[in-house]
Structures are given as C-alpha cells and as structure tokens.
C-alpha cells in the first residue's frame, strides 16, 4: 500500500522558540493509506510538529510538501482546505449542541443563512454507514460518551473531506472498549485510502494500530521503525533515551492486617441507582483496585466516598473504626484520607495559581501551614519545594502557574501534595491518565511507597496494566455492581475484561 506517492512530506522542518529548538531538522513522508505513529515523551516536540502540519505554527525553516507540491500553511483553515484535519486531545465541541449542529458549526456557514440540517444529515448518515460509525446525531454532545464525542470529531473531518487525519493522544480518555472501537474505525479509514497520524505515548496501542513508528526525542527524530519489526521494549528505550527498567511490584502479605476502610452495601438513593450494594474493605498496607469501563458507577462511588455528607448514599462507610457515612470531605481529610480526584483540571488544581499555592489545597487545616489562621508562607514554600524535588518536578518552581506545567508534571504536583505527610488512606482515581511514561513510573512508585508505610489505597482506573501491576486485590464493577474479585496472581486480561463487559467468568 505504500508504493503510492507521499500525501505529505516534511523536509528538514525546524521550529525555534528563541534559542530553543522545539523541532530540529524533521524529515519524513507519509504515503497514502498509512497509519503513522509518532511517539515521544512530554516535551519531545510532538505537539509542535503537529501544529506545524496543521498550520497553527509556521516553521522556522524547512518545507512541507502536500501531494508533491511545496505548500506553506498559514492557518488551520488553510490546512483544512488542503485536506488536513486534526482531532485534538481535548475535543472542540459545543456541548449544548447536537452532533449535527456541531458539524454545521464547523462548516463555517455565513450567519444569516438557514442551517442546512437536512442535506448535512443525509451526507453524515452516509459517512456513518460507510465507516461503521454509530453516533446519535440529535442528542446534545455533552450527554454522549467520550468515545462518541470522538466519533463526532472524526465525522467532522470526513465531512470536510480531509485526507490526512491527525490524532493527538486519541486514546487518553477512552475506555478499553472504546479504544477497540476507535481502532476499528481507524482501520476502516485506512482501507478507504485516508492517511492517518496518531500521536501518543501509549506504546502498546501504537504497536497494535500503526504501520510505521517515528520516535521523537528532544525535538529530533531518533528512530523510525516499521511496526512489525519493533517491540515494546525497544520503543520505550528509544523514547526515554536510556534503558528503561520497569520495577516489579511485590504483593504484600496481608492476611493478618487490620481493615482501614470499609464499605457495606453502598447504594444510590436516586432511582437511577448507579450504585447497587457495593461492599468491600481495604486493609492496612493494601492496594485495592477497582476495574470497570468508565461510567459504570465509578464516579458516583468516588463522590460518595470522598464527600458522604453531600452525596448521600444508602449503606455504611467505616474509616479508622468510625462510622463516617455522614462525614464531610474536611472531616475525612483530617482523619487521614487523601484524594487524587478523577478530573485533575477540574477537581484537583487551580490552574492560574502558583504551584506553591496549589500545595496548600487540602492542607489548609494543618498546623504546619496555618497558624492562628495565618498562612505560613515560608513553611509552605519549603515543604512544597521539598516534596516537588522528591518527585522531580520540571520546572522545579514554586512560582510558575499550574497551567505552565505539562499534564504529567501537574499530576506530580497533585500526587506530591496528596501523599505528603503519609496519609492513612488514599482514593486514587485514574492517577496516571494523560500522563507520560516517566511520570507514570514516578507516580506508581509513590503509590507503592504508601503501601510500604502501611497506608491503604483504593485505586480506581480503567487502565488494566496499571491495575494489574499495582493492585493486591482487584474488584470488577459493571452497572454499579461488583461482578467479581481477584487476588494478585489470578489477574487475567480475559477474565477481567469479560466481567467488565458484563459477562460471566
């Protein structure tokens, strides 16, 4: 399939910001009908490269050839007109509008013309059936699952006749099922002759979907491989630039340990009953994993556990031998609970505050930081800096705003803060979502350290690798019910996967 002429070709592309080169002499070409994976750590220059291909940034030097002709892209509009489309990591959709309206919006039709619902719908339906995409065109986008939202983004590009589709971290927010579904769509697009670029740092996925892989490091291409001829280990080494060792995690012997946190028959009060009699306990020094496809009650469970007074549920929650079923977050935190919330940006940080001020969140009742209601700025700065140093935060700064850190470093800030002062119990929800490989290692290490210090962890994740690696025991939930439980050693992707999908063991 690659004997065709290249659809797009980059020749010695460089992009400098001041004296810093985000991209240096990047050359590659993508033939029609190929899926190209581009991998690299955060800050390796993936985004810069994509922005140049999409017309958002202009190269400092070098050229882009489209269909053999040298082209200078000045804006995304320009790129779209030349058949280049991009699906951003964070979708560009108006949540109150339906898929149909979102796509009409993207067409940029002059404001006073009537909206051509009918004709657009006709063509969309045709595209849907052609590429095996199933999505409700009428529902407000905000009510659809993340996977469906992504499908809408893809439809948008197909409608605009894009031939080159660029995906930025497309699987970061998808559940395992949705990822499979997405890959099927991608393969269909390839069959139809579309050219696809997938940027990711999830090596496994790149290996399973791409035809060819380019590895970026420090703004340069360090390797190019045909996917069939490479493997996970080699790519990880190339990406990090050193031999990368994954530590084995040792399961603890817990049979005699005391129970720290217990949930009995937790059920939602509302009639939709997202939670149905969930019971479990977490023992001292144990990591209990909860696996499940997103939207099966995890969010409701997390809320009910971290703020029982506000998100009332039937059932009993016990923490440190106290019935905490009507406690507030503040009371739970002062008993020694910590929370790594599901949505980092919305629930864990304040983006336009400094990394120092963000460290105080959740600790605003601790004597170390507040004396007689005065903030102890010096102590706060020192303790935050020490904690950040331990997590190798980059840049190691107390004054940068959170928005100036990469996703991985933001999450390190949250982990450093929440694990400060050895909490007894941690709710860790998707602790490494959207985080690069180096930070994942660091965060996994930190979660294991909690265990070593006799802390307990409730790990909620949709990443089976992560769950299998860290958990001592694993519960699978589906439809708000606990479907099965496994102890370390019994984990298997088939069994867990089947339960997650609602099947039987």
């Amino acid at each position: 399939m690659s004997n065709l002429s290249p659809v797009i070709e980059a020749k010695n592309l460089s992009k400098a910001f001041g004296s810093f080169y985000a991209n240096e002499n990047i050359s590659f070409s993508i033939p029609k009908g190929e899926i190209l994976g581009i991998i690299g750590e955060n800050g390796a220059g993936k985004s810069t490269l994509m922005k140049m291909l999409y017309g958002q940034l202009r190269p400092t030097s070098g050229q882009i050839h489209i269909d053999g002709k040298e082209t200078s892209l000045t804006s995304p509009r320009d790129a779209i007109a030349r058949g280049i489309g991009m699906v951003h990591q964070h979708f560009m959709l108006a949540e109150n509008h339906s898929a149909l309206e979102n796509i009409i919006l993207a067409l940029g039709i002059a404001s006073f013309r009537l909206m051509p619902h009918k004709s657009v719908r006709k063509r969309l339906e045709k595209l849907c059936s052609e590429f095996g995409i199933s999505v409700d065109l009428e529902k407000p986008v905000g009510e659809l699952s993340v996977g469906q939202q992504q499908s809408i983004e893809i439809l948008k590009l197909l409608y605009l006749d894009s031939n080159l589709l660029i995906f930025d971290e497309p699987t970061a927010v998808l559940s395992p099922n949705e990822i499979e579904n997405f890959f099927t769509i991608l393969r269909g697009l390839r069959e139809a002759g579309k050219t696809i670029v997938v940027i990711s740092h999830k090596l496994k996925e790149i290996l399973s979907i791409s035809d060819r892989v380019i590895v970026l490091r420090h703004g340069k291409i360090v390797a190019e491989r045909t996917t069939k001829e490479t493997n996970l280990g080699e790519l990880a080494d190339l990406m990090v630039g050193a031999h990368f060792e994954r530590r084995e995690v040792i399961a603890s012997n817990l049979s005699a340990a005391t129970t720290v946190f217990e949930v009995k028959d937790l059920s939602s009060i509302e009639s939709d009953s997202r939670l149905k009699k969930i019971s479990f306990r977490v023992r001292e020094g144990e990591i209990l994993g909860i696996a499940g496809v997103e939207g099966n009650g995890q969010s409701e469970l997390i809320r009910a556990l971290m703020n029982p007074i506000k998100y009332r549920a039937k059932g009993e929650i016990t923490f440190c031998e106290k019935n905490v079923s009507a406690y507030s977050t503040l009371e739970l935190r002062s008993l020694g609970m910590s929370i790594l919330p599901e949505n980092r940006i919305k629930e864990a940080v304040i983006l336009d505050w400094s990394s120092r001020d963000n460290f105080l969140l959740g600790h605003q009742n601790k004597k170390e930081f507040i004396k007689n209601s005065w903030i102890q700025e010096q102590a706060l700065g020192e303790k935050a800096l020490a904690a950040y140093k331990e997590y190798d935060l980059r840049p190691l700064s107390l004054t940068h705003h959170l928005s100036e850190f990469s996703g991985g470093n933001q999450q390190k800030i949250v982990v450093a803060r929440e694990l400060w002062n050895q909490p007894k119990f941690i709710i860790a929800a998707h602790p490494t979502r959207g985080v690069d490989i180096g930070a994942i290692e660091r965060i996994h290490l930190a979660i294991q350290d909690v265990k070593k210090q006799k802390g307990s962890v409730l790990l909620i994740s949709s990443d089976l690798d992560e769950l299998f690696r860290l958990s001592d025991r694993l519960l699978v939930i589906c439809g708000g019910l606990v479907r099965g439980s496994f102890t370390k050693g019994e984990f298997s992707e088939e069994k867990v996967g089947r339960l997650m999908g609602g099947g039987q063991t």
Binding site: M306, N307, K310, S328, T329, L330, L332, R333, S334, I339, P341, N343, K346, E347, A348, V349, I350, D352, W353, D357, L360, L361, G362, Q364, N365, I370, S373, W374, I375, E377
Partner: protein, 343 residues
C-alpha cells in the same frame, strides 16, 4: 505593579485624546476642557479634597464587590447593603446620642456592618438553600432594601422640621466634621477620616484575601468550586461568610456620607455607589489595593465631569458623562491589554 501603572497611564492618555476629540467636535477648545478637568480634580486643596470625598464611598462598595468576586459571586447588591447598613448606623446614633465619639462611632459602624452584612448574607444563604443565583437575589434584595429604607425614613425616623425625606440630625458626638483633621486640612471639603478608614480597610481586605486561611478558601472557591470541595473547603460556609463580608464593607459608606459629611440619613443619598462599585472593582481587577486607585480615578473624573457642565458652553451634563465614561473605558482597555493577543 509597574506594568499596571504604565498601562493605566497609557489608557488615560488615550482617553483624554478621545475627550479632546469630542470637545473639538462640539466646538469647545480641547485645551480648555483639559484645563477645567485637571483644575477641578487637582486645582486646589479644596478641589482635591472633593475628589477624595467622591472616591471614598466607591472604595467601600468596590471592596464589597471584590470580596464577593473572589468567592466567585457577582454582588449586584452593594446598593441595598449600603442603604440598610447606613440607615442602621444612623439609627444607632439616634438611639444613643450621648455616647462618647470613641465608643459611639465604632459601635454605630459595627451595627451598620452587621445589618449590611446580614443583607449580603441572605443572598449567600439563598444560593445555598435554594440554588438561587446571586445576581437575581441581590438585585431583588436591592428593591426590598430600598422599600424598607424609605418606609423607615419617612414613617419612623422622619425629621419633623424639614419637608424632604430625611432623618433627624445625629448628635455632635457622632457628627465629627468640625473636629475632623482631614476636613481642616482640605480647606473645608466634606472629606473625613472615613478616607483613612477606607484605606485601612482596603489593606485589611488584601491581607485577609491573600494572607489568611479564610482568604485562601474564598479564593479557592472563586476559582474552582469543585477543586475547593475536594480539598475539604465548605463552599456553603465560605460563600455565606464572603457575602456577609461584602455587605459589611458596603455598609461603611455611612462613615463617609453620614458620620463624615451629611450628619443625617437623606433618602436617596447614594448616586448608585453600589453599582459604580462594580466598575471600580472590575477596573482594579478585584485587587483591594488597586481599588484605592480606581476609586480615586472615578472620584476625580466624577468631579471633573460635574465642573465641565458648569464651566464650558458646549459640553453639557450628558456630554460630560460621555467624556467621563470614555476615559474609564480607555483605561479599562489599556489595563487588560496583552501583548500579541489575536482575535
């Protein structure tokens, strides 16, 4: 800080250029208009004192709006809070006319602050209990406050010796104008030590917001309610406290307007200080120290615009308001100006 000052200066220059253009169009000498405005604000100690006098209530209402803003709330209700708070302070002075000034004035202000704060708190409480949006409730509370105040003034506390709707005069223990050091320094402009109190309050609010736990919680709530909640901050409690503080700040307008200058509560004494406070706070980006400057800018322009009407032939009252607003808009644009921002 330096950046903000430079931007303000640039905004002023552009604003005055616009003002000059308007004056020239209507047939007034731009230079003369500038001269009138400058002299009216700074021309004499007395004029300067008047500018400060106009600025003082705006500091209080600006702070009121800013505190609420930091908690993520839009306080449109400073007008009602100041009306009730100021009347409460006046009533206190009427009830206990012979207390010594050192005791009476602080107590009157405190009582006013409690009533004004209570009025602000209602909006915070309603938001908590019923989820009512504070913009709606504070606007409605303004109407209720206005009605209560006019009933109390005309039916209960109406001074028997005058025709206009106003209370009796507060005793000289409270009405300190003759002994007020600022009144004397500024050549008889109605300015009072309320200005010093306002400056102190602005510093206090800044310290509260940026140095204390409560301020931290208020700001966290304002930036992200969900993050605040996960961090164990009670949004309900903090929101109600913030609205109480907002109402209390607004009530201190009574210090400048009643204790400091009028000596009695006149119905409708406030030319919508509460609403102007919104603009004052926004111009200062809700920074309490910045509010001191933006309130002064408003005060000085207010004074200048009033004199334009009198001193010039063609710049009418309405046109002078146009000029005033133009300058403020220019400053607002300049302060928000960011390098390299594209459409």
């Amino acid at each position: 800080m330096k950046d903000a000052l430079l931007k303000t200066l640039a905004g002023l220059i552009f604003g005055f250029l616009g003002a000059a253009l308007i004056s020239w169009i209507v047939g007034e000498s731009p230079l003369f208009v500038m001269k009138v405005m400058f002299e009216s604000a700074f021309g004499s100690v007395y004029n300067f004192g008047l500018s400060l006098f106009y600025a003082t209530p705006l500091i209080f209402t600006g702070l009121s709006v800013a505190i609420a803003f930091h908690a993520g709330l839009f306080n449109i209700g400073a007008e009602g809070q100041l009306a009730l708070g100021a009347l409460a302070a006046t009533c206190f002075a009427l009830w206990f006319p012979s207390l010594s000034p050192w005791l009476g004035i602080p107590l009157a202000l405190l009582f006013g602050a409690i009533i004004g704060g209570f009025w602000g708190w209602i909006a915070g409480w309603l938001k908590e209990k019923r989820g009512s949006h504070e913009v709606i409730t504070t606007i409605m509370l303004n109407f209720i406050a206005a009605a209560i105040v006019s009933w109390l003034v005309t039916k209960v506390y109406q001074s028997p010796i005058v025709q206009s709707p106003e209370t009796a005069e507060i005793s000289e223990h409270y009405f300190i104008q003759e002994r007020d050091p600022l009144y004397q320094i500024f050549d008889g402009a109605p300015i009072s030590i309320a200005l010093l109190f306002a400056i102190g309050l602005a510093i206090g609010v800044w310290v509260l917001l940026f140095k204390t736990k409560l301020g931290f919680e208020i700001r966290a709530l304002g930036k992200s309610e969900s993050t605040a909640e996960v961090s164990g901050i009670s949004s309900s409690k903090v929101r109600q406290i913030a609205m109480f503080l907002a109402g209390a700040c607004a009530s201190f307008v009574s210090f400048a307007e009643i204790i400091g200058s009028a000596g009695k509560y006149r119905l409708g004494f406030s030319p919508e200080y509460g609403f102007m406070g919104i603009a004052v706070a926004l111009l200062a980006r809700n920074n309490p120290i910045g509010i001191l400057f933006s309130a002064f800018l408003f005060g000085a322009l207010h004074k200048g615009a009033a004199d334009l009407d009198i001193e010039t032939e063609f710049v009418t009252r309405d046109l002078s308001l146009v000029i005033q607003s133009l300058i403020l808009i220019a400053v607002a644009i300049a302060i928000e100006w960011k390098k390299g921002r594209r459409a």
